[in-house]
Symmetry: C2
Subunit: 144 residues, 2 copies
Amino acid sequence: MYTTPDLRELGGANAYLRDCASRSALDLLANKWVCLVVGALARGPMRFGALRRLLDGITQKMLTRTLRDLERAGLVDRTVYPTTPPQVEYSLTSLGESVGTLLGAIRGWAEEHMHDVEAARARYDERAARPVEALSANAPTARG
Amino acid sequence: MYTTPDLRELGGANAYLRDCASRSALDLLANKWVCLVVGALARGPMRFGALRRLLDGITQKMLTRTLRDLERAGLVDRTVYPTTPPQVEYSLTSLGESVGTLLGAIRGWAEEHMHDVEAARARYDERAARPVEALSANAPTARG
DNA sequence: CGGCATCCTTATGGATACTG
DNA sequence: CAGTATCCATAAGGATGCCG
């Protein structure tokens, strides 16, 4: 028979799930544009307009917001050259460069495994498309 | 399938920014609940109700959706035991376990650097609160 | 050039009720 | 127990216009 997991061993708090550093880090980094901006700046300092052109598809609003968030988090330095017209250059701090390293790890995983994910999704979708697959009558079965 | 990110090439396409494996990976993993569910299942197989109680705060809707996404992506196996009442057990696939490793890397970065991020944010906010800081008159200056 | 402010559309996600 | 379906509030994000 199958044994039910004993939740009492976990202690009532469950605090590790609700208040973990990873969660905060993901709140910061798990952002559509953050990884792209950091990845772009990992190549070297870049001006606002250059970033906007490079990250084709980003709106000015989101680029501004993303850069503010990154600057506030200490990942990006913002330097204003008081010329006319003004030039604003963005660059990674050392902290930001460490994020670049992390993004490299994510990219490594992605390049190694994302095609597996795509294949799994294709299989899942095809299986969902077929009405009733030849499922062996014996239990237990997936997708019963 | 995915374009290989060559950050040194700035050729007009910018394809690496719009269609990179990292982006797809983040679309999958950069989710509030995904990391928690994967983290929970990294401890071992768990039933639906156990997950719901463990991830205190998650709604049934989000747990179901998250598990479906993870199952479709091939990170999670779903096994139905045709008992009464029914039991549905979720477990990580080997692919899912590799994600757990990645989440470990993120947690490592988070535990090493998030307090720096918090400090940077505190400094930023305090600086924003003060009206006009003593800024050295020489260019270039940050926050001009 | 590098923003900020505003409007508006679309996701995201919670609450609730019902089912095999 | 393990879901599905529905409604609804809020937030994310794009389009546009104006400014120093």
